[in-house]
Symmetry: C2
Subunit: 270 residues, 2 copies
DNA sequence: TCGTTTTTCGTCATTCTGACGATAAGAGCG
DNA sequence: CGCTCTTATCGTCAGAATGACGAAAAACGA
């Protein structure tokens, strides 16, 4: 059956030569767990690629927005409405990516503190966190369904790049966190070791990055650490001329539109 | 009439609940002309928004790739197959953006040296270069059709950001150019004045940016300047773990996949 | 109290940038 | 041919940021 979306003014119709494409959203949900970057994957319960691991996602429904579809699919497959930063990643062309025929896929990137996966969705086996590293190796085994390995690689690279010039690393952290927590995020996402002393200097002296809560950790081993929260967004939606991230989408950005790290925190180049 | 794209295996069909959406591509084609950033706009010849200025673009045809559709629309509306760097910008959701109903739009960004606009397309009045600046002001007049003002703003911001950490500014230049040409690109895109001496130092000493041709300009006023070309791409397609730009798409990237500016060339902040 | 661990503060050499002086190398003109 | 004008390019120097690393601070456990 063909579902044709409503056409308010039939006199101004879409040209008949235009392709009508099914559209999916796929979500690259990243988190840091045990000092390693993890991605949320589901086991596909239906063909095609039944039994294979895949990014959570599914078809956009009539009348639905893209970001809403992303959140819906995520909720359906994890049982929770995850926190974190959701932004559009990119769109993958309709050809040669789905055995069912031409399908457009709009990928979203979610950066979030680890959240529990509650229930298995309707057409997907349980969702679970998987370490990203072996999946990027792209060995002929462990292949993800569709072109999801490539989408994952793009998402990871986007996350790595954004940590350099935005305060987005805080999206991986709980509401209150220490400088060491934040450093471990950078280390996990970039796959490098950073000097704790220099990192602390950079994180605490960069304006618009951290905000102290006044409290400290206790009970752990070692000297107690100061607790911080993410600094509030620098203000206005300012999609126009000034903001550094070009992809601040009112439809995408949840609560926190993170500030810009003015002198960027660059990953070490070999 | 409904055009249903072929379904290779009917047993594995797209679920009937999925929306089938018409998809357009819109191209933000930027160039530097008379030391100012310009965008290629067409005057719409058909409803909706007949007579208004709009980004060149149109519907994706059955069996067509996104980037191919972008190049086709550009060719149809300019009469030439423009040079330059084409990359995907982002996708704009299906709702509340086209009076004809839900339409998905995948925007592309083209950075190119100025190219002549040859003929007027079928359903568009002549295409022409327009200064970007007044269009970003977003005055209630001079509004672009659809949500194209927003797409333009996103494209300009993407271009501005990319000049900081990539060698993409060379995409605005002819095959051979001087350091001053390149500086004028930065000045036009960022809307700032840069010190010619410091810019020259940065451009010529950053590895992987410029390559000297050995020749110099002649005839102009002032001391002749050395001619450079863009340094060749740093190697492999390497979409994976190492390349800085996350959006190197084999489908999008034409010849030149520009290198990374290692210490970035940051625009002056305030 | 002593060692262990982790956080946080300091120091210092190096690199990069912004400001700007000075020179180089043409064209145009008397 | 010399003078001037203009633009390109080289140099210098102070301030900022970074990377490497020493050392003190502040807990915990034995």
């Amino acid at each position: 059956m063909i579902v044709r979306m409503s056409t308010p003014d039939p006199a101004r119709a879409v040209p008949p030569s235009a392709a009508l494409l099914p559209v999916t959203v796929d979500v690259v949900a990243l988190t840091v767990r045990d000092d390693a970057l993890h991605v949320l994957l589901v086991e596909r319960g239906v063909e095609p690629f039944r039994g294979a691991l895949a990014l959570p996602g599914g078809f956009v429904l009539p009348g639905e927005r893209l970001a809403a579809a992303a959140r819906r699919e995520l909720a359906e497959e994890t049982g929770v409405r995850p926190p974190g930063h959701l932004e559009q990643l990119r769109t993958y062309g309709p050809l040669d990516r789905d055995p069912r025929g031409p399908v457009l896929s709009v990928a979203y990137l979610l950066l979030a503190p680890e959240f529990g996966v509650v229930h298995a969705g309707s057409d997907a086996g349980g969702a679970a966190w998987h370490p990203v590293e072996p999946l990027l190796g792209a060995g002929p085994d462990d292949r993800l369904a569709f072109d999801h390995a490539r989408i994952l690689a793009d998402g990871v690279e986007r996350a790595r790049a954004k940590l350099e010039y935005s305060a987005l690393a805080t999206a991986f952290c709980p509401p209150e966190f220490t400088v060491a927590d934040l450093r471990r995020v950078y280390e996990a996402v970039w796959g490098v070791r950073l000097d704790p002393r220099n990192f602390s200097r950079k994180a605490t002296t960069t304006a618009g990055f951290l905000e102290e809560t006044g409290r400290t950790t206790s009970g752990g081993t070692g000297r107690p650490a100061a607790l911080y929260r993410a600094a509030p967004a620098t203000s206005g939606t300012g999609a126009a001329a000034d903001a550094r991230p070009a992809d601040v989408d009112p439809d995408d950005a949840p609560a926190s539109v993170p500030a810009v790290l003015d002198p960027p925190l660059m990953r070490p180049r070999r």
